[in-house]
């Protein structure tokens, strides 16, 4: 179906060169397999999230149409596409000029290094290309058996819950089994209180009926204590997989959606770092090694294109690369630690240089253990905010548009961390799978000042109902009041909680 995707001899030569540069700089990456594709193949692959095979679903077609349209109208163009996998797969656009190919290759080695070494990627499946293909087979099998419409509609329902996962869950052990076991032990150990006595008095001091009755009471207490789930669970998807009355194939589809959500989660958690890191390295490799003098203008044009900023949007490439550069600079000159923090002489701070040369080592360490939140929390400095002209904005109700709110370091950092927490999505927990003692599902939105979009919330509740098949409830805050949104399968209710 496709043309030969192998690199041309010239590109192969470039690849070897750039790979060598990357290794020299100390990058430690999964081997990268580059494939050469046309724009429509690129759009096809991109609409599949970078994977050659996915399960069939209309949204991929929709994405493809959109990419295709916006490419043919010249509105957008996909430069690089790389998959977290071992080996890494990356795609090069056949029609790109050589300088772009070099840039993309350098950039991709940065990503591959990040995938391999960043802690938050450590739990992702490195054979995801295969896994995705397996998912496709499983879904197709269900389609053959139960019909396209039925399966596709169910996938729609599942996708609506896709973000109800706990991005941190893979890094903890499973709590659930241990707590279930301990409950079981307690249950076995439950007896009535025995008084010490002589054997012949046993029957009278500790009458068996009384002991049995006491044991009964204990067990009942245990049952009552045993909440379901034991503690609020953020991984709603897994809860549903384990406890919702689903048919076999439905459970399988839901598992697929969850697995893919967990696979993609680290990319959402490290957007700024990942792009920053890759950009840092493409810029380093290109400007110090790979760039031919005739290509400088084109390179600068394309590089600045990716780094471009617009007032209302934070460009992760730009913030990321600048922060990495800032960190390198600070650790090279020793602008960190108590002495530097304590110094309040502006000119002294400006010329502070301990000639430590620790920068390179530091950024490699940073790329290993941080994610966007901890990265911003740790390394965003007032100087950096100032230099990068960061600001917070808010919605001005009178003017009906967004206005710059503040340029204060504290509020910028707060706002930024806010928007990054849980990848900018609301945190929702399941806290009772037997609400009102009638098998209803009760969830709570951890309200942090921003209300939910209510029409979407209601539609989502309907979808959860399709899975849980009994009443579903969501506690959240609307206009400053605690409210319980409920859906029982036929109508929505809203109750103000006292």
């Amino acid at each position: 179906m496709f043309e030969n995707r192998q690199l041309t001899p010239r590109l192969e030569e470039l690849r070897t060169q750039i790979r060598a540069y990357a290794v020299d700089f100390g990058l430690d990456f999964f081997e990268v397999i580059y494939e050469l594709v046309d724009y429509d193949e690129m759009n096809m692959i991109a609409s599949y999230g970078g994977f050659p095979t996915r399960y069939p679903h209309w949204r991929f077609g929709m994405q493809f149409e959109e990419l295709q349209k916006s490419y043919s109208y010249g509105l957008s163009k996909i430069y690089e596409l790389v998959i977290n996998n071992d080996p890494c797969y990356a795609y090069l656009m056949r029609s790109n000029p050589e300088v772009d190919q070099k840039l993309v290759m350098s950039h991709v080695y940065g990503h591959s290094d990040f995938f391999k070494n960043n802690y938050w990627f450590s739990k992702t499946n490195r054979k995801m290309v295969d896994e995705m293909a397996n998912h496709a087979v499983r879904v197709r099998r269900h389609i053959d058996k139960y019909g396209l419409d039925e399966v596709e509609q169910f996938i729609d329902v599942c996708l609506s819950l896709e973000n109800l996962v706990d991005p941190h869950a893979p890094y903890f052990g499973e709590h659930k089994t241990s707590s279930e076991e301990s409950r079981e032990e307690q249950r076995l150990a439950a007896t009535g209180t025995k008084f010490r006595t002589k054997p012949y008095m046993e029957e009278f001091v500790n009458p068996p009926q009384v002991l049995a009755a006491e044991k009964e009471v204990r067990l009942k207490e245990l049952d009552r204590e045993e909440r379901f789930p034991a503690k609020p669970q953020r991984d709603v998807l897994t809860f549903l997989i384990n406890h919702a009355p689903l048919r076999h194939w439905q459970r399988d589809v839901l598992e697929i959606i969850r697995d893919e959500a967990y696979y993609f989660a680290p990319q959402g958690m490290t957007k700024i770092m990942n792009e920053g890191w890759a950009s840092f390295w493409h810029s380093k490799i290109m400007t110090t090694k790979a760039l031919d003098s005739t290509e400088i203008i084109d390179y600068a044009d394309h590089h600045s294109g990716t780094m471009g900023t617009r007032p209302g949007v934070l460009n992760p490439y730009k913030v990321g690369i600048e922060l990495f550069r800032d960190i390198e600079e600070r650790w090279n000159t020793g602008r960190f630690g108590p002495e530097y923090d304590a110094c309040d002489d502006y000119s002294k701070r400006q010329s502070w240089d301990l000639k430590l040369g620790l920068g390179r080592e530091k950024i490699f360490e940073v790329r290993k253990i941080y994610n966007d939140i901890t990265f911003i929390d740790e390394y965003l400095t007032p100087e950096f905010c100032n230099q990068s002209q960061l600001f917070t904005y808010k919605f001005d109700r009178h003017a009906g548009n967004y206005v710059i709110d503040s340029r204060e370091f504290k509020s910028i950092k707060e706002k930024l961390l806010d928007s990054l927490s849980n990848m900018g999505r609301p945190v929702i927990n399941v806290d009772d799978g037997n609400f009102k003692n009638r098998g209803d599902l009760h969830m709570t939105h951890q309200y942090q000042g921003v209300p939910l979009k209510l029409d979407y919330a209601r539609a989502t509740l309907e979808n959860i109902h399709k899975i849980w098949s009994r009443g579903v409830h969501l506690e959240t805050e609307v206009d400053g009041k605690r409210k319980l949104l409920s859906y029982n399968g036929s109508r929505h209710e809203e109750k103000v909680l006292g």
Binding site: E66, S388, D396, Y402, D405, R425, V450, L452
Partner: protein
């Protein structure tokens, strides 16, 4: 994608936005970005962090702000356009309405003669000479006769070597169809009524075009007098005046007689009106024309009555009385845009 178009077919049919987007062979169907609902933040108050110059309190530009704090992760409310070929659209329509395929009448009796080059002959005009075959024949002959010399391979064709393409005349069963749209443009037909007719004819056109290779359309408008117009006029005209339906039927009859002999053509007259005719005499005249010419000639005669504020809607009753149980006549009342779909099904559901 097709599934989504199908789901929204009713919506598209009743809106008529498709017609404006009609290209040569395809229609671009606007698909609203279909959002899968999930728990998300209500946007406006959320705000976020941006980058760039500016004083506090300065607006940062409307559109960019839409994207929110994560660059372009949230899809905006834009509309996606998908190109669908007219054939595919007809197919979707057909599947959705469960329309039977039309069995063209007279496929056995109507034939066209067509020349097809199928064979080779030793005689013919020079303009049809088949060089390769001629060469081969000469080569064969030279080898047979021993004149051929592999070291000096010169081939000289003689008169007898010459080969020519030859043709056979085949008769091909032909299915031609003509749609004659007639519309009442008298004063009582308002813009809304015409819009309904316009939308309905677009879909009729789409379906019938998918059923016949060769399709012609004629447009007739009438008030008290009728005339043949082009499509543009048909859909945009504003007339006023009384109504003589017979004038349209007469004209349709003439058009058919002149251009489309009923023995060779599948004829589909569609007439749309608000059902307000001028006097009983004219109605009687209409019935006569229908009975004697139009009905026997046509595959099916369709009358769609659009509800208007002024029309009495009498005509459909008259037709019903005049042709009870005649399945060459299909009647449909269209009271609002939502009923276009049903009406299409009524018109096309018989497979004639």
């Amino acid at each position: 994608m097709r599934g989504k178009i199908r789901e929204n077919l009713k919506h598209y049919i009743s809106r008529g936005e498709l017609i404006a987007r009609q290209g040569k062979n395809s229609v671009s169907v606007p698909l609203p970005q279909i959002d899968i609902p999930n728990f998300r933040f209500g946007k406006p108050e959320q705000g976020g962090v941006g980058q760039g110059p500016g004083e506090e309190g300065q607006p940062i530009g409307g559109e960019e702000a839409e994207a929110g704090p994560e660059a372009g992760d949230q899809p905006g409310e834009h509309v996606l356009e998908v190109d669908v070929s007219l054939e595919e659209l007809a197919e979707i329509l057909g599947e959705e309405l469960e329309l039977p395929n039309i069995e063209p009448k007279g496929t056995d009796s109507v034939h066209t003669m067509k020349e097809r080059y199928t064979g080779i002959d030793s005689q013919g005009p020079e303009s049809l000479r088949h060089f390769k075959r001629t060469f081969k024949a000469a080569l064969k002959r030279q080898i047979q006769t021993g004149v051929y010399d592999p070291k000096n391979p010169i081939i000289i064709p003689m008169r007898d070597d010459r080969r020519y393409r030859s043709w056979k005349t085949q008769s091909i069963p032909q299915s031609n169809a003509v749609i004659i749209y007639m519309m009442d443009v008298s004063g009582s037909m308002g813009n809304e009524q015409k819009e309904i007719v316009r939308i309905e004819s677009f879909w009729l056109d789409t379906w019938l075009k998918s059923q016949y290779e060769n399709i012609e359309t004629r447009y007739i408008i009438h008030d008290a007098a009728a005339k043949v117009v082009d499509a543009h006029t048909f859909f945009n005209v504003r007339e006023s005046g009384g109504t003589k339906i017979s004038s349209a039927y007469k004209l349709a009859k003439e058009v058919i007689e002149k251009e489309f002999p009923p023995s060779e053509w599948n004829i589909y007259p569609f007439h749309f009106s608000d059902g307000d005719n001028w006097g009983g005499d004219d109605t009687t005249l209409c019935m006569d024309i229908l009975n004697e010419q139009l009905m026997p000639w046509s595959n099916v005669f369709c009358y769609g009555q659009v509800k208007s504020a002024y029309g009495s809607g009498q005509f459909i009753k008259d037709l019903r009385e005049a042709f009870p149980d005649d399945d060459r006549m299909i009647l449909s009342e269209i009271n609002s845009r939502d009923e276009i779909l049903n009406s299409l099904k009524t018109f096309l559901g018989k497979g004639r």
